[in-house]
Amino acid sequence: MKSKLIIIVSIVLIIMGFYSCEDQLDIEQHGVRDVSNFYKTDEQCLEGLAAIYYQIETSWRNNDFFITASLADDAYPGGGARGNDVNLEEMNEFRHNANNGRVSELFVLYYTTIYRCKMLISRTDIENGSSTQKRCVAEAQVIRAFTYLRLVSFFGEVPLIAEELSGDFARPSASLSEIYSQIELDLNNAIASGALLEKENASSQLVNVSKQLAQAVLGKAYVYESTFTNVDKWTEARQALNAVISSGKYELFEGDYLDIFHYGGRFSTESMFETNRLFDSQNLAMDRSLTRLGWRKDRFKPDQLEVTQSTGLTFCANESYGFMNPTRELYKAFEEMEGEDGYRLNQVMISYKQLNEMPLQIGDGNYVYGNAGYFPLKFMTQASERVARNTYATNYMLFRYAEVLLLAAEAELPEHGGSQAKVDEYVNMIKARAGIANQPGNYTLEDIQKEKRLELCFECTRYPDLVRWGIAAQVLADKGKQVPLLYGLYDGSDNSNQKFTDTDGYNISWYETSGTGFQTKHEFLPIPQEELNVNKQISQHEGW
């Protein structure tokens, strides 16, 4: 009996001892690699670089585009109805504050790109690295500089984070000159490395950022620094921008202007930096913001939608929400420059009068919110770009040669120490391509401002331009005080509920917002409240 007992107890103890081995808990993680020895080989550096481009491709447009166009006098946020995107409406009406959700989204967006660049730059050993590794680092430097330029032009003073963060993550804001120095340092390093790629000629295509893009961004940074702060970097600006122009690697696109921004003209002769979305049904890197950029088609008479499509116009995508409609002021500026039949105007937008003739009419009793009778074409998601549900092969244009010419024109102004002949040459190149030939020249800063407003509308430059030219308070004094609701063509009828007005022949009910127009503090976006709450070293911009 005793012996049996001992046997039993020992068996139990053995079983207990066997499974209580703690190393059973050491589970291995699938599908990941060690971080400490990454960014060491060519393949790893290319993967780190792909992650940077991929993030820009999938997530920049949703905030970068929407916010910068809403802040400027380019667009009404639109959508289905008021409240469809409260954050954008606040910005469009200058009612936004540090708690605005999109302010922090934009902030996070840029710092995410910067983080990815920083990991690649700081962890790759370029001293002993291969040419591929050197190139990956140089491209990351250019993109980091490009991103900091966005940050500093929309947010002003922000934390400058060049090293990897650990422990206490919070950093104070750097001064504008410190940030511009970092931007210029990154770009000069990248250019000097000799590792950046270049196009063979103007018609070859390049997805990667090029040496000329680095020079163009450097020139833009000098122009911005000269106007945003009180330093004179015009000489450096001219030098960098003229290097791009004289390289002959880029030319203004001579095909249909609208194609520059669409699948048809991807990586055109003037494209310097655009995201690469292939027409590939097996790789659906989704960017949901593209579905927001079609028109609000459900407000039109449904039985007319197909009729219009068959007119041959490359038409609007189906799954569309009607955000970002051109402002009445933008249309007026085009009309003043080009007339209502202007080539560029008709490539950038289409009026309801033109649609009405197709015919495409707003359904009875329906209205289009945030629309003054002008529907976008420039960035409107086209039906022909549809790869799959909610997925479109529309690249996001981040930098193109036209901007280089207009920045160079500004830097060449005689008051900045340049040559009037070059100003006229560059501006006339833009005008000629837009179908405005034989202009006298002798252009002033005001002429450049007018040209840039049209040529680069919706391209993230209008708002910082207004601020650095010192005309924001004047131009944006009444912006966002009213939002149009488009009911159709003005036919003299009235509905006491809606208070229709005849606005350029359209039946529009103007909704009065509580906006106050541009105030001094609006020169920059506020530091997000979320950041202020956790970062005790940072302080809010004045006035916010």
């Binding site: 940077i52 008021r82 963060l165 292939l278």
Partner: protein
């Protein structure tokens, strides 16, 4: 209708074509539905062992019309126990289950078949016959759009009034797709009990659960609105197998010497779960028919391909011990300790162990010699005090603490060809200090029985503190550029009283038993890591509507406080941060506008029986909780709203109104106290009347027990909440109390017959 016109959502002219239809969408979608349950069981035993076997069948056709919402379950149970030797017993319980379920989409702000019942306009009928389509639908048909038809060829309506609404005729979803799942489970445990010496029992027990899970979803092409449509069919199928087992070994030693009673227990447990799954699917089938709804029949140009699969392991190891001692059934002491270890996918190795002690003391005053033993008043009195800690890893999974290189997308550096390079980034910031979350509960209680045990009363005061709360998704700084690993961020305190009161008596053949319970709860976040200001919770209408913040209840509703409606304009006036009133609040004015956590929960049970009849009434309720009604989408102004916003709206005749004028458009309003309702309710969950056949009848038909019963479940609800059901109106932990349209608990009438052979 007037509301829609007055709120600018729909123009008056739109209604000129209205034919007078009034559709009750509740009747269209829901129907009284039968539920059947049958079971048969067998039981037998000898002096060496016993056996129990049963077979169950259940079929529940949900309250949504038709077969799209149906649940079937067949299960078999086999339990055995057998004494192999005097000192060795074998026992085993096993259950085999087959489930089959068809589901309806619910609880999503974008896709729900349930919410349209509230939000659709009543002016549109459910169906139109094919030769009598309204022009807007005929136009779509003529242009080749695939509108959804019922079995008779009639078309389900697309509202002309709500063009652009996310909510569409629910039958369009029900008739154009299906979601099914079918699963097999085998679960049970088998144990050996050894008694090598007197007073010592050693148990070795193996628990197991094997699961085979299958699901498939099919959506055919359809068109309803510009935002609700799909131009090619899609499918998704998942096959998953899960093996779980747990091995426990523990010993129990019981010793009594005179008045000293001692129980010692010690043991260990090891569990392992392995889950393998494969999901395949895509958009585009060779032919749009349910017979082709398998990955084999995806068309060659199918896109949005889904091909997923992984093996997920989880393991856990624990050791535990407990000592219980009492002296003369008067003084009781219990002390215990457990050590738990989490696997590497949960916590880093250095922090994997958590140690959790507990201690409780009891004093049965009524067992004291000096206590008046034969008292007619107090039959029993006991005082209790306890303190203890528990550990939790709060649902951590998948190496959230670890910083590794993971994939993020792919990018082609070729402008025209797909030459993708995978993107790689660090997965998170990493947190090698992540540790167990501990909850510490302190409780003081009294148990009292009076009047010969007829009256029972117990009361408790409890404090439950959760320390080192594990929180994911925090932000130490927005400049960090990556996902932040979970941190032990804060402490939460819950405290309150619990009361229970019961009375039980018998008057001849009439027996009755009434009991009630009530608990109070005060919940507060007492500490939050200084690096975190406020943790954002449930997101609705692009805003955070619940938050976790120091000094507030967990996941309180955050929004704007409406002070009153301006009698002059009909605009709401909001309370600003500084206490002044404003028409245009800023985010700084966000404040607590409610909480889904009730102050008081209570329940009531009444059992009555007279001879062979019995009646049970069971109800429960809450007091002091609020509901955030998330039924109004700010981007869809044309959807119907709760009637109260219409009937109590400001008009030029009704200037002292509860709600804003109907054309008020600012979205603050739908994140303000105007959408927060009192969620208190009392619901009679069940009223059951039963009758047991008299023994004299049973003998004649050779049955041992026959019971007939009828019951009304969830039939009576008392609440001020204007939505569907205050009880089910909540979504996830962070969205506690946020109602975005969920399945109401069904009013069920049950007729039952139990027969025992």
């Amino acid at each position: 209708m007037d509301y829609m016109v007055n709120s600018n959502a729909i123009d008056q002219s739109k209604f000129s074509s209205w034919d007078g239809t009034e559709t009750d969408w509740y009747d269209v979608l829901f129907e009284p539905s039968p539920m059947q349950q049958h079971s048969i069981s067998f039981q037998n035993g000898t002096n060496r062992g016993s056996i129990y076997a049963s077979l169950n069948y259940m079929k529940n056709d949900g309250i949504v019309r038709g077969d799209e919402d149906i649940y079937k379950r067949i299960s078999g149970t086999l339990n055995v126990e057998y004494d192999i030797k005097d000192w060795l017993t074998l026992s085993s319980s096993n259950i085999v289950t087959y489930n089959n379920r068809n589901q309806v989409a619910e609880n999503s702000p974008y896709v729900s078949a349930i919410r349209p019942v509230l939000s659709l306009d009543p002016l549109t009928p459910n169906i139109y016959s094919a030769n009598n389509l309204p022009s807007h639908m005929q136009g779509l048909v003529d242009n080749g759009y695939k509108l959804v038809q019922d079995d008779n060829g009639d078309y389900f309506s697309i509202s002309d009034y709500l063009a652009g609404a996310d909510d569409i005729n629910p039958n369009i979803l029900l008739y154009s797709g299906s979601t099914k799942s079918w699963d097999h489970f085998i679960q049970g445990n088998t144990a050996l009990n050894l008694t090598p010496i007197k007073d010592l029992v050693i148990t070795s027990r193996l628990g197991y659960r094997l699961e085979s899970r299958n699901s498939s979803a099919y959506q055919s092409a359809y068109y309803a609105t510009a935002t609700r449509n799909q131009d090619s069919p899609s499918i998704e199928s998942t096959v998953q197998s899960i093996q779980y087992y747990q091995l426990e070994n523990f010993l129990n030693y019981t010793k009594s010497i005179d008045d000293h009673n001692l129980v010692l227990m010690a043991g260990s447990s090891y569990s392992s779960r392995t889950s393998n799954f494969v999901t395949a699917g895509g958009m585009g089938l060779q032919f749009d028919d349910e017979l082709f709804a398998y990955p084999n029949y995806l068309s060659t140009d199918a896109n949005s391909l889904i091909h997923e699969g992984d093996e997920i392991l989880n393991k856990k190891l624990s050791f535990y011990g407990r000592l219980s001692y009492d002296y003369g059934n008067k003084y009781m002491l219990q002390a215990s300790m457990r050590a738990d270890a989490a696997d590497l996918s949960i916590l880093p190795e250095a922090k994997r162990w958590g140690y959790f002690p507990a201690l409780s003391l009891g004093w049965t005053v009524s067992n004291e010699d000096w206590f008046i033993q034969d008292s007619k008043t107090i039959s029993s009195l006991k005082l209790r005090a306890s303190w203890g800690q528990n550990g939790s890893t709060a649902g951590l999974s998948n190496f959230a603490y670890s910083k590794v290189i993971m994939n993020d997308g792919a990018y082609s550096f070729d402008a025209n060809n797909p030459a993708y390079i995978s993107g790689s980034v660090p997965s998170s910031t990493g947190n090698s200090n992540l540790k167990w979350e501990t909850s510490e509960q302190t409780d003081f209680g009294i148990d009292l029985r009076l009047f010969d045990n007829r009256l029972t009363f117990n009361t408790d005061y409890y404090i439950k503190k959760t320390k080192d709360l594990i929180v994911s998704g925090t932000t130490p700084t927005l400049t960090i550029g990556n996902t932040v690993s979970p941190v032990n961020a804060g402490n939460v305190e819950n405290k309150g009283f619990e009361f229970g009161l019961g009375w039980r008596d018998q008057l001849g053949d009439f027996k009755y038993d009434i009991s009630a319970n009530l608990a109070t709860l005060k919940n507060e976040v007492t500490y939050l890591d200084p690096s975190i200001d406020r943790i954002a919770g449930f997101n609705y209408n692009r805003s955070t509507v619940t938050a976790f913040e120091k000094g507030f209840p967990v996941w309180y509703f955050i929004g704007y406080q409406v002070d009153h409606i301006d009698p002059a304009t009909g605009n709401p006036l909001y309370v600003a941060e500084d206490g002044s009133l404003t028409e245009a609040p800023s985010s700084a004015d966000l404040t607590m506008i409610g909480s889904g956590i009730p102050d008081i929960t209570y329940g009531l049970t009444i059992n009555l029986s007279y001879k062979n009849f019995d009646l049970t009434v069971f109800g429960q309720g809450t007091q002091g909780n609020e509901i955030f009604s998330g039924l109004t989408k700010t981007d869809r102004p044309q959807t119907n709203r709760l009637a109260t916003y219409y009937t109590n709206a400001w008009t030029s005749q009704n200037t002292n109104a509860q709600y804003a004028r109907m054309d008020y458009q600012e979205s603050y309003y739908w994140q303000s106290s105007a959408v927060v309702f009192d969620g208190s309710y009392f619901k009679i969950k069940q009223i059951q009347l039963g009758y047991n056949l008299p023994d004299s009848w049973l003998e004649k038909i050779k049955l041992s027990d026959v019971r007939l019963y009828t019951s009304l479940d969830n039939f009576f609800l008392f609440t001020k909440y204007p939505g569907l059901d205050p009880e089910t109106s909540s979504d996830s932990t962070m969205g506690l109390g946020v109602d975005i349209g969920s399945y109401p608990s069904a009013k069920t009438a049950v007729f039952g017959l139990n027969v025992t052979f």
